[in-house]
């Protein structure tokens, strides 16, 4: 696989890597005819994120490296620790990098990322990939009974009211109102924690379909990374969810890419007796 990303799209790609780094410690690169997919899953298997860049996103996008290669494309898993530093400083990428070339060859175990910068400087990074397998989560969003579409800045503005360290958040909807509040499952600190609640009217959403009243609790941390990506592109966010225990899916799409994050929700968010909240796992499978 070989692809070239031009100009400001390098920053977009970098933002996707940053958003994925908030989810898991490993990143799966999965090139296919549909485009280049970047995926990550959290260690507890409770969060999954996927960014797919269509071939139109790239200045050049080709799958096989040489005619002799088999038609099967290379799928690889990289350590986030190796990849993230390359895309950490987006302002300097914006200023200096003219294009970025990513190539993977089946014969060796390297992913080669080259930054062609101003003043004729080329930076080449060789990252070894760990195994060859693909990651895919199965999530039937069409089966979700509740679907919302929030305008670009809405979710970010709402999430801003909760402290940065707030781990989990509870979202409650009825057809008339949507509310979010912070979730605290440790009863001893209950006395001293600050509680925040925010309530929104359906009119604030581009689309608001709530067929079943539901209250779901999920992890905010992984969502924040995704929201900082979507805000920078001013894209409306679709939210698919159902009752507690079933996963919630946030997604955006654009002509050039689509991005999804799927989060597990707690089975019994109202119960404060449970010490170990039993959340469902996001069903992420590896396949060859």
């Amino acid at each position: 696989m070989k692809c070239i990303i031009e100009g400001k799209n390098v920053k977009v790609f970098g933002r996707a890597v940053q958003a994925l780094s908030r989810v898991g410690d490993e990143l799966w690169l999965d090139p296919s005819g549909k485009g280049l997919a970047l995926r990550s899953v959290s260690s507890a298997q409770s969060a999954y994120a996927c960014f797919i860049f269509s071939p139109l996103f790239f200045q050049q996008y080709s799958l096989g490296c040489a005619p002799k290669q088999s038609s099967e494309t290379v799928k690889c898993k990289l350590l986030m620790k190796s990849l993230l530093p390359l895309f950490r400083c987006l302002t300097s990428i914006e200023r200096n990098v003219e294009r970025c070339q990513i190539s993977v060859s089946a014969s060796s175990d390297w992913v080669i990322i080259q930054f062609f910068c101003r003043h004729g400087i080329t930076k080449t990074h060789n990252l070894r990939f760990q195994e060859k397998e693909a990651l895919q989560a199965e999530f039937a969003s069409h089966l979700c009974r509740n679907v919302l579409k929030a305008p670009a800045r809405l979710l970010g503005d709402v999430v801003m009211h909760f402290p940065p360290f707030q781990e989990e958040i509870t979202l409650s909807t009825t057809p008339l109102r949507l509310s979010l509040r912070n979730y605290d499952d440790s009863s001893e600190s209950k006395m001293k924690r600050m509680f925040t609640e925010m309530s929104l009217h359906p009119d604030e959403f581009e689309y608001f379909q709530v067929d079943v009243d539901s209250t779901i609790t999920f992890c905010l941390k992984e969502l924040r990374g995704f929201l900082s990506f979507t805000e920078s592109h001013c894209l409306p966010v679709s939210v698919h969810f159902d009752s507690a225990g079933k996963p919630v899916c946030f997604s955006v799409e654009d002509m050039l890419f689509e991005a999804t994050v799927v989060l597990a929700t707690l089975i019994e968010p109202e119960s404060t007796d449970s010490i170990q909240p039993a959340g469902t796992q996001v069903h992420a499978t590896s396949r060859y």
């Binding site: 801003m160 009211h161 600050m194 609640e197 604030e204």
Partner: protein, 280 residues
Amino acid sequence: MRFRGKIVDVACLNHFTRVVTTISKLTKTCVLRLNPDKLFFVLSGKVANGGVGMWCELSQANFFDEYQMEGCNPENNEICLEVVPENLSRALKTVQNAKSVKVKLTKKHCPCVTVSAELPTLSSISRVVTHDVPVDVIPTRLWHELKEPSVPDFDVSIYLPPLKTIKNVVDRMKNLSNFLVIEANMNGKMNLKIETDLVSVTTHFRDLGNPPLGDGASQGGRDPDSMAEVRVDVRKLQQFLVGQQVNPSKSMCNIVHQSVVHLILLHEDVSLQYFIPSVA
């Protein structure tokens, strides 16, 4: 015991938020004292905080459009609450663009100061956000600890140089020593100095001016050139300086020789006093 206040003006909300944020940088917990005319943020100088004391006074009319309170009983028409100012600051910071902000004393899972705001939206119906900040009600028998500290019988009173300048100096001195000496005289001279085995550094300020002495000043026989000094923990001074977000209209300090330095910052509608004790 009831308290209910409403802030409608954006500038007042902004100013109030900045005051609370400054307090949150000075101390982790403090007491919020409310009476019909004023609000106070108080930290009594106990050994637990290293003897540092703080007194911040605001006139409620300068911030709130509506303000109603009822103390425990008619003789003690005040409310004293122990609060973590950082929680209050965080709650206020998120509602800066609100149409109106209500602050009230409520009882949720514990006594709370609830900040609730109506936020403007593109649709006709506002977004409502509430933050419940947990507080501890302080019983009346402990109120004697929360009185305004009396101005000590000071040896020298002097206007401070710009806080930013002092902060720059103190930040660099902190790298060299844990203790810093503040000395000043009644002729407008102030020195900040540190002394270690290897090095001593002094920064001199001149022509600062001295505030007029009150009646019955005890400085009658004092030589205006003689310096009064206090040796303080540099981190405590730095903590005071780091929190300051707005330039005060007046800033001064009183020094009791080898005892305590009393820093006073006056803004239009807020006064902040900070006491740092000397160390041996």
